[in-house]
């Protein structure tokens, strides 16, 4: 909402200066976006001084001037004026300026081989006089200390631009803003002069509001103005329209616009001679069409509120008029409309047709239904004054009567809500100035809400009115109440933060990517999940919710590889979507590692990242998050985007259905499809929702501290075993020989090939044996050795290597 201070003062007697008005507006909730002069094409012309004028090297009649324009460096300008000389004060136009005389836009140009930055102007070029013989000579005493300043004063008044919240339609007119300011003590609202308009004759174009279920219009007021002379608007009116940032059109159109912005009362003027017999306000039928004033043809749906005549649709009520009945300079008789349209109907129609107009914006938020006559009178007066003509009696058709909103307000609610007290007297004064009708019934205030405030329906709205006018600075700043109702984080929230930092501490950079992704990439990772398309995506390559974190992670991994990074570790923790209903989502960590573990190292051998690098990262992170390593079971069944032979699933124990993590190499087909160029690419993922809540705090779950001081023994074994036999199984077999004595089993060598039969492999393990009761003697140890060998051989089909 734009307006000038002058315009405001048509409605407000105030001693406030501009800055005070600006501050006050912001303080009462009418946020000032800007307060500045509308830009002028003349702003670029500045006062300058010729420091040195020498002859152009290639042209005797031209001069090359060093010009001081008030900045650090002088500017070089080529000038043909005979009077250009050292020390002359004149007017300089920089490149980009538009010369008033010929409307030419200046650019940097070469004149006879020398570049000229801008130009020095003559009076004729600036339309100041016909003097074109030389450049302007400014008087020394007046301009000597103004070098660099604008030559032309910007005389256009400063414009206030307010951002009006959707609850305040009344402030979409200057009068409403003045009213708010007066309530806040910034002046007195001027009383509207009583109109002494003389009416002649009746409005004899019949108006009917059809009784229909979907009728979007409840009041239709109108008058005829006969014998007008439409013309260009007078300067004062043009200036007002320009200050709104709009283009003046004709007096009649400008007047209706002016009244709309002045009183927040949209009007529409029809050329009465173009109306076919009568005006019918009705709901449209599908397929009807009309050409609107924005020069677009609209084809209507059912139940849109239209103003029509016998020939068809004239316009969309409260939204936009049609060209068929539009006013022109030749218009002699006009029908002026001032109506009330229902916000719901306006909103629906404008959304369906995608039209936004100033009138629509206002009706959608709610226009004062009691402002029908006021609008007709104000506009008629102006039309008569500017265009002449005779005004008919006002004709107001209604299908619904306005009902007052009455609120019983208990002033205590104010203090209860805001924490501070305002005397009843002051409170009543504020409300009355805002237009409320206040009567007292013991402690309760009976308030009649002004008709221009559709937003006010209940007591809390009254509290808001009083506190905003009184000023938020009166609200106390209470010390925060520190009472805690429950722990800050629950188990999974702690797990989230813990794992996030645990993974990062292993050298991964955390990223945050969109929750949506490209369906083409998502396709590769979605497994059996349903695809979740976004109806109105921001772009076609962000068109589905991600079923997995990897589509985005790999997309950005590729981008970083393309940037020239080789060794990359990235992860994200966030949602992966499993369905389109609220809550169908899992919290997942996805991590990728690409490249080499050590590169260009003077002492370590270069090694490409592999499955066991990420296996370590994932297992260590899980252990750090509190999962017992001994419980963890690894499986080789993984989603299809993993390399089927080089990936694993991690389970919290062997009966668990869902893997809480996967790790391994990514499927080579995917690397090919995504065209990722790297030496090695391994990934892991952890699904936080599948980690079981331990329910116990550490203080309750720590087991008794037990240790043994008896001597430990270590024995090595090597077995020849089927190639596909899992080392995890072998370790479990050995451990199960004697849970108490066997403290640990370490696989320290695995190999195939030379000396090993086809289809077999050799696994070497180191077993630590220790009793908690005694030192084991040779005999005890020998027995365990035998047991280990016989158990492994019988349970796994392995053979001990001799």
């Amino acid at each position: 909402m734009k307006f000038t201070v002058d315009w405001l003062k048509n409605h407000l007697d105030t001693k406030f200066n501009n800055n005070q008005i600006i501050d006050k507006l912001t303080n009462i909730g009418l946020e000032v976006e800007s307060f500045e002069s509308s830009k002028s094409e003349l702003d670029t012309f500045i006062v300058a001084k010729i420091i040195n004028a020498k002859t152009h090297p290639n042209a005797d009649r031209l001069k090359l001037c060093d010009v001081d324009i008030g900045s650090d460096k002088t500017i070089e300008v080529v000038c043909g004026a005979p009077n250009a000389k050292n020390g002359l004060l004149t007017v300089y136009a920089p490149p980009g300026s538009i010369i008033p005389k010929n409307q030419m836009k200046l650019s940097v140009s070469k004149i006879r081989g020398v570049t000229s930055y801008g130009m020095l102007c003559s009076e004729s070029e600036l339309l100041l006089s016909n003097e074109s013989d030389g450049i302007i000579e400014l008087k020394n005493n007046k301009y000597a200390n103004k070098i660099g300043e604008k030559y032309f004063k910007n005389t256009s008044e400063k414009v206030i631009d307010l951002s009006i919240t959707p609850n305040r339609p009344d402030c979409l007119g200057v009068r409403g803003i003045a009213r708010d300011l007066s309530a806040a003590g910034a002046g007195t609202l001027k009383i509207n002069k009583k109109s002494n308009l003389k009416y002649r004759g009746n409005q004899n174009i019949n108006v009917t509001i059809k009784k229909e279920k979907a009728q979007g219009c409840t009041i239709f007021g109108s008058c005829l103005i006969k014998g007008v002379t439409n013309k260009e608007s007078p300067k004062w009116l043009k200036d007002k329209i320009l200050s709104l940032g709009q283009k003046p059109i004709s007096a009649i159109v400008d007047i209706t616009n002016y009244v709309m912005f002045d009183l927040n009362r949209p009007l529409h003027a029809y050329d009465a001679d173009k109306i076919d017999n009568e005006v019918i306000v009705r709901s449209s039928s599908k397929g009807e069409s009309f050409e609107a004033l924005d020069n677009k043809k609209y084809i209507l749906e059912n139940d849109m509120c239209v103003i029509s005549d016998r020939s068809g649709v004239l316009g969309l009520g409260g939204i936009i008029g049609g060209t068929r009945s539009g006013t022109e300079y030749s218009t002699k008789n006009i029908l002026l409309e001032s109506a009330y349209f229902l916000p719901r109907s306006i909103r629906k129609t404008s959304k369906q047709l995608n039209i936004d107009t100033d009138a629509k914006f206002r009706f959608e938020r709610g226009i004062d239904p009691l402002s029908i006559e006021e609008g007709l009178i104000k506009a008629s007066e102006l039309i008569k004054q500017i265009c002449g003509g005779e005004i008919s009696n006002l004709d107001v058709k209604k299908v619904d009567n306005y009902k007052k909103t009455i609120i019983d307000f208990d002033p205590f609610l104010f203090e209860k809500t805001t924490g501070f007290n305002v005397e009843n007297k002051e409170l009543i004064k504020i409300l009355e100035k805002l237009g409320f009708d206040v009567s007292k019934n013991k402690k309760i205030l009976k308030l009649v809400v002004p008709s221009w405030r559709p937003d006010i329906t209940q007591s809390i709205d009254i509290v808001e009115e009083i506190v905003r006018i009184k000023g938020y600075e009166h609200i106390n700043t209470s010390e925060p109440i520190k009472t805690r109702l429950k722990p800050t984080l629950n188990y999974y929230q702690k797990l989230f933060h813990f794992l996030q930092r645990s993974v990062a501490s292993k050298g991964y950079l955390e990223t945050v990517t969109w929750s949506f992704t490209d369906s083409k990439i998502n396709q590769l990772f979605k497994e059996n999940d349903e695809e979740i398309p976004i109806v109105n995506p921001i772009s076609s390559d962000l068109n589905v919710l991600r079923n997995s974190i990897f589509p985005n992670l790999l997309f950005y991994l590729k981008k970083n590889l393309d940037r020239g990074f080789k060794d990359i570790s990235l992860f994200e923790i966030g949602p992966a979507f499993k369905g389109k209903n609220p809550g169908d989502q899992l919290t997942v960590i996805g991590a990728v590692r690409a490249g080499k573990v050590s590169r260009l190292s003077w002492n370590d051998k270069e090694r490409i990242v592999d499955t066991f690098d990420v296996k370590k990262d994932v297992i260590q992170s899980l252990c750090e998050a509190g999962i017992d390593k001994d419980d963890i079971v690894i499986d080789d069944k993984t989603p299809s985007y993993y390399h089927p032979g080089k990936s694993g699933g991690v389970y919290q124990n062997k009966n668990e259905k869902n893997a809480l993590a996967y790790f391994g190499e990514i499927h080579p087909n995917i690397i090919k499809k995504l065209d990722i160029k790297t030496e090695g690419l391994v990934i892991f993922e952890i699904c936080l929702d599948y980690i079981k809540d331990s329910k116990q705090k550490i203080k309750d779950s720590k087991s008794e501290y037990k240790f043994s001081d008896f001597q430990k023994s270590e024995r090595d074994f090597a077995f020849i075993i089927n190639k596909n036999f899992k080392s995890q199984e072998l370790v479990n077999i050995i451990k199960s020989v004697d849970d108490k004595l066997i403290k640990s089993v370490r696989v320290f060598d695995v190999f195939e090939g030379e000396n090993i039969p086809e289809g077999k492999k050799s696994i070497a393990v180191n077993v630590t044996i220790q009793s908690e009761e005694k030192t084991l003697n040779e005999n005890d140890l020998e027995n365990i050795n035998k047991l280990i060998i016989s158990s492994v051989e019988s349970k796994s089909g392995a053979k001990i290597r001799s």
């Binding site: 919240t165 809500t417 600075e473 996030q500 950079l509 950005y556 966030g574 979507f577 989502q585 573990v597």
Partner: protein, 355 residues
């Protein structure tokens, strides 16, 4: 006697020039072995008179001590020399690079969320969450924003179905609805998380982060709201004083509503929070609208309180001097390394919010 002295002097000389441990040991056995020179001298003691024996024994013992002492010093000397020589040979260039350090980082959004949670935890708030996909009711209707409300235009919503029933939440406020529907007052929560609007330019991203705050109890008023936010802003920006302005505004789900501006100035091209005469809008807040309380089955005549919504990304940008919002979500390795935080840098009250 003089013989022995001579022997002693000879051996001392020998030892002085000797540089080999083995040879020193040989000398040791020559002197003190079973048939060693000194051992033999001691054996002779039995065959001489008591008078002489006393004197000789004493001399012999002195000589023995002197020689033994000399031998052990010599051995130590040689060993030290040998070790030093060995150490000298083993010297390496310690300025050669260490094995690669892999430094991981926490994303600024995550760090800021942790900072915010830490601050609100201090004054008794707990953290709630809600799903990213919401239904129309929780996101709008329950929050007093019916379908025909122009306020809906301010949210450019992503929809998941043509009936506009399912959507990506446009703010974290639906967590208020969920929290209040599933529990009983009082409520004192914050809810950080992802939010979505179909808006994309220099200053808007289609996904961003908000933190919602909600405190409902019997007598919570706007003074508490002001106090809470004043505390938060001061703690967050880690300044003693902050210029703050509450300004009336409008949100359908709060009444009265306010926007909060903080003072700032530009010093040497950098934004300085807290002082100065410029204002920067950083959050929206207000008293929860009675209609919202009714919608979530809380009696507005018994309970009241405040809610607020803060843009997390924007706070992070202000605090850590990040200019471009879009860069948050572009996964540029250089950007993540530059603006990311060390994983051990966990914001907390006692260790300080940030280093």
């Amino acid at each position: 006697m003089s013989d022995i002295k001579k022997i002693k002097d000879d051996y001392i000389d020998k030892l002085n020039t000797e540089n080999n441990v083995d040879k020193v040991n040989n000398i040791k056995s020559e002197l003190f072995g079973k048939n060693g020179i000194i051992s033999n001298e001691f054996k002779k003691l039995g065959s001489i008179s008591v008078e002489e024996r006393k004197k000789l024994a004493s001399d012999l013992n002195n000589i023995k001590d002197e020689l033994q002492n000399k031998i052990s010093i010599k051995i130590q000397e040689i060993e030290t020399k040998e070790i030093n020589l060995k150490l000298e040979k083993e010297k390496i260039d310690v300025t050669l690079p260490e094995r690669d350090i892999k430094i991981g980082k926490i994303h600024p959004v995550s760090q800021v969320i942790d900072e915010i949670s830490s601050i609100f935890s201090e004054i008794g708030f707990s953290v709630e969450e809600g799903p990213d996909v919401e239904n129309e009711y929780n996101n709008f209707t329950a929050l007093n924003t019916p379908d025909n409300h122009p306020a809906r235009d301010m949210h450019d919503t992503f929809y998941l179905d043509n009936n506009k029933e399912l959507l990506l939440r446009t703010h974290t406020s639906p967590v208020q609805v969920r929290t209040m529907l599933k529990g009983k007052p009082p409520f004192k929560i914050i809810a950080p998380g992802r939010t979505y609007r179909s808006d994309s330019d220099q200053t808007h991203a289609p996904m961003f982060h908000q933190v919602e705050g909600l405190h409902i109890d019997k007598n919570i008023n706007m003074g508490h709201l002001k106090g809470c936010l004043n505390y938060f802003i001061k703690e967050f920006f880690e300044v003693d004083k902050i210029k703050m302005r509450f300004r009336p505004s409008h949100f359908p789900f709060t009444e009265p509503s306010a926007e909060v501006d903080i003072g700032y100035e530009i010093k040497n091209g950098k934004i300085v929070i807290g002082e100065g005469d410029k204002w920067l809008e950083i959050l929206g807040c207000g008293m929860v609208h009675p209609n919202v309380l009714k919608n979530v089955k809380v009696n507005p005549s018994k309970y009241q309180g405040y809610a607020f919504g803060i843009g997390i990304d924007r706070l992070g940008m202000l605090k850590y001097g990040i200019n471009d919002l879009r860069a948050f979500f572009e996964t540029d390795y250089r950007w993540l390394s530059h603006f990311g935080f060390d994983p051990l840098d966990v914001p907390s009250n006692y260790r300080g919010l940030s280093r």
